[in-house]
């Protein structure tokens, strides 16, 4: 019979202490990976509809859809890719457990690029030249883009929260939040690239 290490067992008097703070942090990364997996299936459902509409269509995109200009979406994609590159610095530092002033600087830069991606996508979205109800392609275009924008905004909020937490936090507490936000943002980047290929590149 082994006795539990008293340091890891909350005593009865402290049983109502915040259990989350005690044990949640080390598992957050796994939780985010699972969440992103779930999000992947969510987007895949719409891509499945895209695939089935694509295979049924004789002309793709449908003839009534005006060909999109690639300028704005390409700029949005560039901002997204830049955000992925700048995020690599804080993520790598978090993995190695090294922190410098550059960590917060690069994370802040990532947020700026992320905001640029969302802003450019929304700007292009505002003036598409076709309506949401003209056909399945048009419905998919609007809905998938809107979901991407929503996820982009969510990512910006998440990274901003992490940025706030990094200020004044002990170096040991910095590792997980950066990695967690990183996993989520790389998912948004992957979605953004797929959208660029399927909705913009394929339609130009």
């Amino acid at each position: 019979m082994t006795t539990l290490d008293p340091d890891t067992v909350p005593r009865p008097a402290a049983a109502n202490l915040d259990r989350q703070a005690a044990r949640g942090a080390s598992s957050a990364l796994l939780a985010m990976i699972l969440f992103v997996a779930s999000e992947g299936v969510f987007f895949a459902a719409f891509l499945g509809i895209y695939a089935s509409a694509f295979t049924d269509a004789e002309v793709w995109p449908p003839p009534e859809v005006p060909l999109a200009s690639l300028g704005l979406p390409s700029a949005a994609l560039a901002a997204l890719v830049l955000s992925a590159i700048t995020l690599a610095v804080p993520v790598r530092q978090a993995r190695r457990g090294r922190y410098t002033a550059a960590t917060t600087t690069w994370l802040a830069t990532t947020i700026v690029f992320a905001a640029a991606f969302v802003a450019l996508l929304m700007y292009g979205y505002a003036d598409l030249g076709f309506g949401i109800g003209q056909g399945v392609y048009e419905s998919l275009f609007y809905v998938i883009n809107a979901l991407a924008v929503a996820h982009g905004v969510g990512g910006i909020f998440l990274m901003a929260l992490v940025l706030l937490r990094l200020r004044g936090a002990a170096p040991t507490a910095q590792r997980e939040p950066v990695l967690v936000a990183g996993v989520y943002w790389y998912f948004v980047v992957a979605v953004g690239v797929i959208i660029y290929v399927l909705l913009y590149l394929a339609a130009s």
Binding site: M1, T2, T3, L4, P6, V9, P10, R11, P12, A15, N16, R19, Q20, R23, G24, S26, S27, L30, A31, L34, F35, A37, S38, E39, G40, V41, F42, A45, F46, G48, I49, S52, A53, D56, P62, G131, I132, G133, Q134, G135, V136, Y137, E138, S139, L140, Y142, V143
Partner: protein
Amino acid sequence: MTTTEELAPRAPAPQPPDRPNAMARAVGWLTTTDHKKIGILYLVNSFTFFALGGALALLIRTQLAEPENDVLSPQVYNETFTMHGTIMIFLVILPLLSGFGNYIVPLQIGALDMAFPRVNALSFWLLPVGGLTIVSGYLTSGGAAAAGWTNYVPLALQEGTGEDLWVLGLIIVGVSSLLGAINFIVTVLRLRAPGMSMVRVPIFTWATLSTSVLVVLAIPALTATLLIVFADRHLGTVFLDPDHGGSVFNYLNTFWFFGHPEVYMLIMGSWGIVSEILPVFSGKPLFGYRGVIAALMLVLALSFTVWGHHLYTTGMVDDGLFSITTELISVPTGVLFFNWLFTLWRGKLRFEPAMLFALGMVALFLVGGIDGVWMASPAMDYAIHDTYFVVSHIHYVLFGGSLMGIMAAMYYWFPKMTGRFLGRRLGQVQFWLTFIGFNVTFFPMHNLGLDGMPRRVATYPADAGWTTLNQIATAGSYLIAIGMLVGFANLIISLRKPRTAPNDPWEGNTLEWATSSPPPPHNFDALPEIRSERPVRDQRLEAAAQPEGQPA
């Protein structure tokens, strides 16, 4: 021993009989992040919805007792079976299994709590919110949602506000399930006690883990489906509108990609429960512990490949392909049956109510499973698609399988949760009433289906020849209701009895029996050494082997 005494909870201060701190207790329950209290909240919430879903079932059976009956108008009938199905699937069976999972999984792996206790509380509180949103459709002028739990289009596009509340409520319930599932997976993978390797994790915990993986990978497809319906109803999209290039298949494929893994979400927990109870009440180890885990994993993988069998008769899927994958899934399921039967073989069986319900589950789920094997054959399915045969099948699987397992769990773990035993005699009465009532209700539906009675019809003509079997089914449903009332009475009576349950009343195998009944807030004062998948049994045998051994 000193450490243990130090850690032991102090005796609670004696309370005056009028309980002046009732308010504080209520606030304690409302704000708790303790997995055990949250587990009990899950159970209370789900059994409340169970009473509602059961009442709706009785309404359905009352309407169908006579041909051309008019207890319910056709529209109200549609609302009734829609809400019955929705409540039982999303607000009763899955949350009941989550409730037991919440209470038992951290105990079984020797953890102090779930990985994210506050997220856990959120997962629970989203449930009554989502559930009430769905049910609140009854308050709208158009009534509750009436497109069936599968919410088929174009019906789903034609319904009133009740449908929107249904969609919104289910999205909330889906978020609840997803957060809960992520929490379970992280808990099982990260918080196991020292020595508890994955091949020593109890089967119920394995089952909860695989259910959670299903939830993570399938619930988002449901969310996408609901979003598609909502967008088509209100945002002007045309995903489901064939006039504008949309297609019903955009709904069917996405929905059933969720919908078939969903049925495994509803049954795997029960498989886990039965795999815990049969060995304990047979006095034998579970036959082929690793085989059961392998079977769970195979079903988990295959369940994502079989959704097309719901679409055989549409002519739009490859019937042969989906038939093969569906028949394949009966192989790991069959393995489970042999594991259970060989666990019983030559065992010293104790027919406690928990064991009766577990055996009932094995028997009834076998019937449901064999129905499923038949229907996986397209030739058969073309004949019985959308008939009462399917209604019979899903009830043999979800009631006979899932709910009988849940009842077994209730009798098995109630002493752990409350320190009190559920009455043995009333438990047996409840079991036999439910078991007999169940078969009287649902077995005739096989014949009704073969006779061609379609499902989801509000009534039927007198000369169709379906009257007698329907009357038998209705009589059976009232028998089930009486059985459930006996169970409820048993619960109330037991809660007034003194706490007499010892730590390990059934001679259990797994860690939840190594702590007090009910467990202290921190779960364990001391853990036995974990050297197999049955640490509590190891400890018991060790104590018996040394004559002057210390009491555990």
